[in-house]
């Protein structure tokens, strides 16, 4: 029997926790006194926000490690974290809009929180596009790592903007402002989404390493005439 990788076990645990946390959030936790049932969106929206910022912070650290050491594994980890960050950021924006319409009355407004979050998603998506245009693996690693480090500026802004400037979005909640019966499913889902994120990043990093190995394999030369072929020697695979 094939053994499960550590990250797959973590991912499965994450999915399980997400089911448990969401069940508690949807059926056992009380509704909010003013918002009613729609407040239950918190149990996915807030963890998605936390984890997307955390994942992009990891991408930032991996980017520094990647330029500093030049090792492909850090570049692969950075790619995985950036991609997961973009996907989570897009989910975050969509969840936020779904929550905003019934509570704030609008799908969108150009408030600082929403604007910086949108910039975050578009910026990191742009970095992934930039990556795909560079053929040389070393240059690709350096360029995208620099872009990830410089682009990281926006992530603390997403977090602090509601405290620094006037906004429509409320400031961060804390265990003091959230009923303890709501904190429990929030915590469970946060770990769930964290584990799922780590799983996705590990998978994606592994894929990136495989791609990189594939790139360093020379393309097979045009097939020589049959008569010149020496039996038993594979053609063009000299550097794996």
């Amino acid at each position: 029997m094939k053994r499960l990788r550590w990250d797959a076990i973590l991912g499965l645990l994450g999915v399980l926790l997400l089911l448990v946390g969401s069940y508690i959030g949807l059926f056992l936790a009380p509704p909010d006194r003013h918002m009613g049932e729609v407040q239950r969106l918190m149990y996915v929206h807030v963890p998605t926000a936390w984890i997307s910022m955390l994942v992009l912070t990891a991408a930032f650290v991996f980017a520094i490690a990647s330029i500093w050491t030049g090792k492909p594994k850090w570049d692969a980890a950075m790619t995985g974290a950036t991609e997961v960050g973009v996907v989570f950021g897009a989910l975050l924006t969509a969840q936020g809009m779904i929550w905003a319409k019934p509570t704030w009355g609008v799908w969108w407004d150009w408030d600082v929180r929403l604007t910086t979050t949108l910039i975050m998603v578009v910026l990191y998506a742009g970095i992934l596009v930039l990556r795909s245009f560079v053929d040389d693996p070393e240059r690709r690693a350096t360029w995208s790592a620099v872009a990830v480090i410089v682009g990281y500026v926006d992530v603390p802004l997403v977090y602090f903007c509601v405290r620094w400037w006037r906004s429509l979005h409320q400031i961060q909640s804390s265990p003091e402002t959230v009923a303890s019966s709501m904190v429990v499913p929030l915590r469970i889902n946060s770990f769930a989404i964290l584990f799922i994120a780590i799983w996705c990043i590990a998978q994606r990093a592994r894929l990136e390493m495989a791609r990189r190995r594939g790139e360093s394999v020379a393309l097979p030369p045009k097939r020589a005439p049959r008569t010149a072929e020496i039996p038993g020697t594979p053609q063009g695979v000299d550097n794996v």
């Binding site: 009380p30 509704p31 909010d32 006194r33 003013h34 918002m35 009613g36 407040q39 918190m42 520094i64 330029i67 500093w68 050491t69 030049g70 019934p102 509570t103 704030w104 009355g105 609008v106 407004d109 408030d111 600082v112 350096t142 790592a145 620099v146 480090i149 410089v150 990281y152 500026v153 603390p156 802004l157 602090f160 509601v162 405290r163 620094w164 400037w165 006037r166 906004s167 429509l168 409320q170 400031i171 961060q172 909640s173 804390s174 402002t177 959230v178 009923a179 019966s181 709501m182």
Partner: protein, 154 residues
């Protein structure tokens, strides 16, 4: 060694740009020029200058000020920050969260007769999530604080 130096240089340069931009945005006073909404006090203080331009006004719905017109379309209420209060005429369906004492941001224009006219009414709620139960009394100062309507000093 030169390769090593190049790497260190690129890392530090990228970090410097990152930290520099963040410091500039966070502490460079950009918030003074980047105002998402005006408070009733600011709107009142600017007098005629505010008339006609498309702006946002933010504050709390003054308790006891909500009135609905006979036409069933127009909603009238006052937006307050505890000091000044601006009467608002809204031609829109308010979200379910709209009530006395809730935070609102309205987008529209100031009329010369002192009314703020809006078609875009947004609710700005606080960061508290509690089960249904006891309702507290409305205290404007407390509400202002919990909905972050007071300016921070950065």
């Amino acid at each position: 060694m030169s390769e090593r130096r190049r790497r260190v240089f690129i890392t530090l340069a990228a970090l410097l740009v990152s930290v520099g931009v963040l410091a500039y945005l966070g502490f460079g006073g950009i918030g003074e020029n980047l105002v998402y909404y005006w408070s009733p006090t600011e709107l009142k203080a600017s007098g005629d200058q505010a008339v006609g331009a498309n702006i946002r006004l933010g504050g709390l719905v003054e308790p006891g000020s909500i009135e609905r017109e006979q036409d069933g379309l127009t909603l009238r209420f006052a937006v307050t920050d505890g000091e000044a209060s601006v009467p608002v005429s809204a031609e829109t369906v308010p979200p379910a969260m709209f009530r006395e004492g809730i935070g609102v941001v309205v987008e529209g224009t100031m009329r010369s007769d002192g009314w703020f006219e809006t078609r875009r009414l947004m609710v700005k709620h606080d960061n508290e999530y509690q089960p249904p139960g006891e309702m507290q009394d409305l205290d404007i100062k407390e509400l202002m604080k919990s909905m972050q309507f007071e300016e921070s000093d950065t």
